[in-house]
């Protein structure tokens, strides 16, 4: 059974590679039900569309974001109910523009996830119907999960 599963995961990877070729920057099978690919941000919608509609990856589990020194990464975790495989898609996003296409046309669940990433990391999702802050107040300055965000003393706190 486990052998079988591993093969299935490899199959998905091969199919993705043959469809998208060098649009996939990096790919690996992490363990038997985990697949990881790295792509450029501009291809994310096409690849997600293919994953959802052709390969049955139907559950967008989460959208995370990471601030690396040279680039932002938006990390999608997508699970397939029929195949029982989890794919992790790391999409590289340029630090200057910080823009990526929204996946809300594919998944309704992307709505809040993308708002959270926008709120915390300041990445703009193009085509999102309602991109505004979700946790923090509207007038909050800065994006707290960026590494250059300074955690200082509270602005309302003054020592006598």
């Amino acid at each position: 059974m486990t052998e079988n599963k591993q093969e299935l995961t490899h199959e998905v990877l091969e199919e993705l590679k043959s469809e998208f070729g060098d649009k996939i920057v990096e790919a690996e099978v992490k363990r038997k039900t985990r697949l990881r690919i790295k792509i450029n941000g501009e291809n994310v919608f096409d690849i997600a569309d293919y994953l959802k509609n052709k390969l049955d990856f139907d559950h967008l589990s989460s959208i995370a974001s990471v601030d690396y020194p040279e680039t932002f990464e938006v990390v999608y975790h997508i699970w397939s109910y029929p195949r029982k495989i989890l794919i992790q898609v790391n999409a590289l996003v340029d630090k200057e523009s910080a823009r990526i296409k929204s996946l809300t046309p594919l998944w309704k669940s992307a709505d809040w996830h993308e708002r959270e990433v926008y709120d915390m990391m300041g990445i703009i999702f193009e085509g999102h119907p309602n991109l505004k802050r979700i946790f923090l107040p509207e007038d909050f300055k800065g994006y707290p999960l960026r590494k250059d965000f300074k955690i200082g003393p509270k602005p309302w706190y003054k020592e006598d």
């Binding site: 989460s62 990471v66 990390v75 109910y81 309704k108």
Partner: protein, 369 residues
């Protein structure tokens, strides 16, 4: 007098301070008469920036904070977090610890579902059942406090195992509990299933179809109530769940009643697992050999568990240089379940919205983090 009666739409804020919001959230509802035209949940009242705090604390020091996300079921939060760190480190956990982890997670699920039943009853005006639910939940909390010294925020799991072994006599206490609870649950059945008012309030209310539920990222009992037999414990087993025998409870309708039913019947499955867990409990260590300073090699880990409320996941990135995570991201089930709520609550009347909202079982500590 042929003056026309003027009507207008009305905006009603449910919350932030309202018992049926289960914490502090606000539902901005646009009403026409009593029919809801639109709902917008406003969240963030409990936002503490736990993900940012996580980047500034060592791996061990973040563990108590995971308790404070889903504070109704902190043990499963602990579990998800340590699984992610163990994946980064590549640590093997001793068998005794794994069995105890499963047992504790299931006890936690029972506590969570009893709490759900109590709160659900309270929201529908059934105050007796609220007392019942809290009373039986206290039986689990007694077991937990015997073990950890805490009623709610346990901080009991450790990277590589557990804080300590179970105290003398704990296992026999669990056996007593396993015997006592099913008798009490009979009262619940009589109370709910023979109660016409209750059935009227919940049957056919807030229907969520399987296809929509998947698209909206709904997980846990809410998804299973719509007929999708998805359970991380079965489909992507972690810990020792593949060694346990239990069923995944599903319903067909996807309405408020099904969501209640799934949770109620899951209590019995959890009892089954706890029973197997303490029967099969092997002797041995409860923690693996873990370095004093946890400094995982560079890499990413994504661990998922079936928390009582749905799929809970931690995504942790380590840069390999420090003893602090580079990034901690939490995928909370309540967050996603709440985001789907506006889609299937529209068109109901206000009392149905309250029943529906109670049935999705969210906790705001985890929504806001």
């Amino acid at each position: 007098m042929d003056e026309e009666i003027r009507t207008e739409e009305f905006i009603l804020n449910i919350g932030p301070q309202h018992p049926s919001t289960h914490g502090v959230t606000r539902l901005v509802t646009r009403l026409s008469g009593e029919t809801v035209l639109e709902i917008e949940p406003v969240i963030g009242y409990l936002h503490r920036g736990l993900e940012k705090i996580g980047e500034n604390k060592t791996y061990e020091k973040f563990l108590p904070l995971t308790d404070r996300m889903d504070y109704i079921s902190s043990m499963t939060n602990n579990h998800a977090y340590v699984l992610a760190v163990e994946e980064l480190l590549g640590i093997e956990v001793p068998a005794r610890a794994e069995y105890l982890r499963v047992t504790l997670s299931e006890l936690q699920r029972i506590a969570n579902h009893l709490m759900f039943i109590a709160a659900f009853g309270a929201d529908l005006g059934a105050w007796t059942i609220m007392m019942y639910g809290f009373r039986e939940r206290e039986m689990v909390l007694d077991l937990m406090s015997m073990l950890t010294g805490q009623r709610l925020l346990y901080n009991f799991m450790r990277v590589g195992g557990l804080k300590e072994d179970v105290p003398l006599g704990w296992v026999s206490k669990v056996r007593e509990f396993l015997k006592a609870l099913p008798e009490k649950l009979e009262d619940y059945k009589a109370y709910f299933y023979n109660n016409e008012i209750f059935l009227d309030r919940v049957e056919g209310v807030g229907i969520l179809k399987a296809k929509d539920a998947i698209n909206m990222g709904v997980t846990g009992p809410n998804l299973r109530a719509a007929g999708v037999a998805y359970d991380v414990r079965k489909d992507d087993p972690y810990s020792y769940y593949d060694r346990f025998d239990f069923d995944v409870i599903t319903e067909k309708e996807g309405d408020t009643f099904s969501r209640f039913n799934v949770r109620f019947n899951e209590i019995y499955e959890s009892l089954k697992i706890v029973k197997q867990g303490i029967e099969a409990l092997p002797e041995g260590e409860v923690i693996a050999k873990v370095p004093r300073i946890i400094k995982p090699p560079a890499g990413e880990a994504y661990s998922r568990v079936e928390a009582p409320k749905g799929e809970l996941a931690f995504y942790i990135v380590s840069d390999g240089k420090t003893d602090k995570p580079y990034r901690v991201k939490v995928r909370g089930p309540s967050f996603c379940n709440l985001s789907s709520f506006p889609y299937y609550a529209v068109g109901d009347i206000i009392p149905d919205v309250i029943a529906n909202f109670a049935s999705i079982d969210i906790v705001l500590g985890e929504v806001d983090r």
